[in-house]
Amino acid sequence: MTLIKTKYNRRSFLKVSAAAGGGMLIGFNWLTSCTSPVEEGIPMPNEWFEINGYIKIGNTGLVTIYSPNPEIGQNVMTSMPMIVAEELDVKWDHVVVEQGSLDEDAFKNRQFAGGSLSIMRGWDVLRMAGATGRRMLLEAAAKEWGVALSDLTVSEGIIKEVNGDRSIGYGAIASKAVGIEVPEEVELKDPKDFTLIGSFQKNVEGPKIVTGKPLFGLDFKREGMLLAMIEHPPAFGMTVKDFNRDEIVAVNGVRDAFTIDISMDDPGFGNENAFPQMIAIVGDSTWQLMQAKKALKANWEIESELENSEMHAQRLKRDIDQGEVQETRKDGNPEAAFTKAAKVIERTYTAPFQAHNTLEPMNFFAHVTTDKAELIGPTQTPNSLRESASKLLGIPEENISVDITRIGGGFGRRLYVHYGLEAAAISKKTGAPIKLIYTREDDMTHGIYRPAYRSTYKAGLDENNNLIAYSVKGVGFREGAIFPNRFPAGAVDHYAATKLKSETNISTGAWRAPRSHFEAGAQQAFLDEVAEAAGKDTIELQLELLDRAKNNPVGEKYEYEADRYAGVLKLVKEKANWGAEVPGVHRGFAAYFCHNSYVAQVLDLVMKDGLPVVKKVWCAVDCGIVVNREGAINIIQGGVVDGIGHAMYSELKFENGVSTHKNFNTYQLVRHNQSPEEIEVFFVENDISPTGLGEPGLPPAVGALANALYKATGQRYYHQPFAIANQDQNAFDISRTG
């Protein structure tokens, strides 16, 4: 039996009140993410108690769960309410999930709390809220009937007497439960008794999506709202000087044009931005603004070096030795071991800059008045936006509201707040509500990109083909390319890992499974090559290493659990029938651990007219308890397609500070006919609290693809994008144009 506290010191995590229209309303602090980092031992700040999640148990028995979570396609709007409903013990088809609607009374003064303020994980909070509701409803029924709590059971929203005939639905008792004192501790279900968690449930917004309802930021409209567009400097390293304002304001439908500046002295989280100054045009319609943008003639000033892709390649080559060291790990004496080794293999891997390219371009609504601001749009970090907007506008945070629309793709891009701030600056200057819209070209050329990376791996084998030494150096712009304490750390006697960074004036940031996607591709391709040199099966080699890490670990603690890691390797091996050779079918394997989840994949490809076609990908996943199986499978499948697509086709290059790719006609994204024909997903069943799902499906796909391509072509794949880049080991040193 797991008990969970509903209070911290004397502060309750919940508030209970009567619901308007009858029934019970439970309010609680709903965290922004199911996998928010746990910051154990941090005392709870007094002001933390911010209600933003609500469960309404109406007197009809209908349960409405108001979710404040941003939905970026990871299915949290479905899966998180499922957790509440499971513990509350109601039938899923009696549950309605609503994104806190903007005019909903309950949300009038809603403020968001970020995961960083939390001392419990979202999983526990959601379970606690549901369990508290169940317990209070049970207590209300016990009181009503004059029986003990232990005389009652509940299932699917119906409370029954164990030794009697009486029964009552939640709806009928909900109003009375309001008067019950919130229990200090509540009992959570044993995961074995879960009926809803782990089931297949459809996306709760599915019907709205397939009928084209206005859900997204770009669809948002307000009476009297004007539209706005920006023109940022054409190159990284440039800033705006002046522009032909008179001509622009004369364009049909243009109301005003001016420059804005969103730079601030003390930028907060998510404020990465290469272009704090830019031109803004305000007008009546999107098309007219697009014409006005074309008519712009601006003078730009060069502030810092205009970079290009060749320069980036040279910098990474230099800084893999000379860059700023961010993190290292060393076990044993790798230098000596490499000298003794019978065989040494050394390989270098690279990947280019990439854009996020969320299909919905950046946009935001803002209405700023002298002392208040209202911001609405697609953001994953409403708190950061509010904090920065407060600094930018000089308006106290409590007078700024940030509301979230459904988000047309995130992949890390909407962690950054500049587009919300730009909207705020434009509204302030215009004195009217505006919606800022980026064109695709604005979006792709004003990115917070996945930086280019370079890693060099080295392995030493003894005469019996045992891996005795392993080293890796990984460099990236602003952030190194590797995780020193991940596999195979702990599994090799002599091990060295160095994470280094290089510099650029191009804005970079988190991109779905940051660094993990590159490391998984490079490391898993490298280990495949090492296994081949050692004459071993690639999965066997990794299982041997995991065995070593588990039974006789080397050095300091490493990040992963060797058992769970080995578990997904074994599962995928069995499911894909690894080892069975089918003529004409080329198989690759890769596995990776990130965001506390483990994923192993086997990828089959065939060559058709000289081009690779991925027939099938098998995925074995250990992400702890699977909340919504349908959504979980979907997101893992999406990760596989994303990993294959970007490793194979996508790159962003620069010439004189200008991104040479501006739209999907030159920037290649994986398309339907390039996507795997089938992706099958298997989960390791266990009772471990849920871990990440949005990201871990992606990284292994890169390695599995590289390894299958090798089988198909006899050529090892070191440089992304595989379909375009020259694969020669030294090619990258000279030029990226291959």
Binding site: K202, V210, G212, N252
Partner: protein, 152 residues
């Protein structure tokens, strides 16, 4: 500026816009029909797909002046109650992730089935290649089209 008379989803509309305005922006800005999405503006992503006399077209590059008497159908008018076989199949296969591309995918799929009621996998892959799904829901899109084909 010029006046255009349009037949959209069975209803008559009149708009006064620059003749070069793409139908996408007439729908979104002037008629408050925001089901067709903007993704690229250059006929590369398919998010803006609509039917013009039953043919799937990219509304982002279709000037309003070229519509003439043809009838327009958007995702909002594909069916009365969201029960077109393609929409139902989309729900059955829980296709959407972020959902942004899906109106365009559905309109392309519906037009494909209109022209070819029983497409092969290969025909589906080819026909749907103009619609990007950044979330990578292609496997489900293909399955949903097969279900819709079987049910229509």
């Amino acid at each position: 500026m010029a006046t255009f008379h349009l037949n959209i989803n069975g209803k008559k509309h009149q708009v006064d816009v620059d003749p070069n305005t793409p139908v996408l922006w007439v729908l979104r800005d002037h008629l408050n029909l925001v089901g067709a999405k903007y993704g690229c503006g250059v006929a590369q992503c398919g998010a803006c797909t609509i039917h013009v006399d039953d043919v799937a077209l990219r509304s982002c590059i279709l000037p309003i002046s070229q519509v003439g008497n043809q009838t327009i159908t958007t995702i909002e008018g594909l069916s009365q109650n969201g029960d077109h076989p393609v929409q139902k199949a989309w729900l059955k296969h829980d296709v959407a992730q972020c959902g942004y591309c899906q109106a365009g995918q559905i309109m392309s799929a519906a037009a494909l089935l209109e022209a070819n009621s029983n497409p092969t996998d290969e025909e589906i892959r080819t026909a749907m290649t103009g619609n990007i799904c950044r979330c990578g829901t292609y496997v489900r899109i293909k399955e949903a089209i097969k279900t819709a084909a079987a049910n229509s």
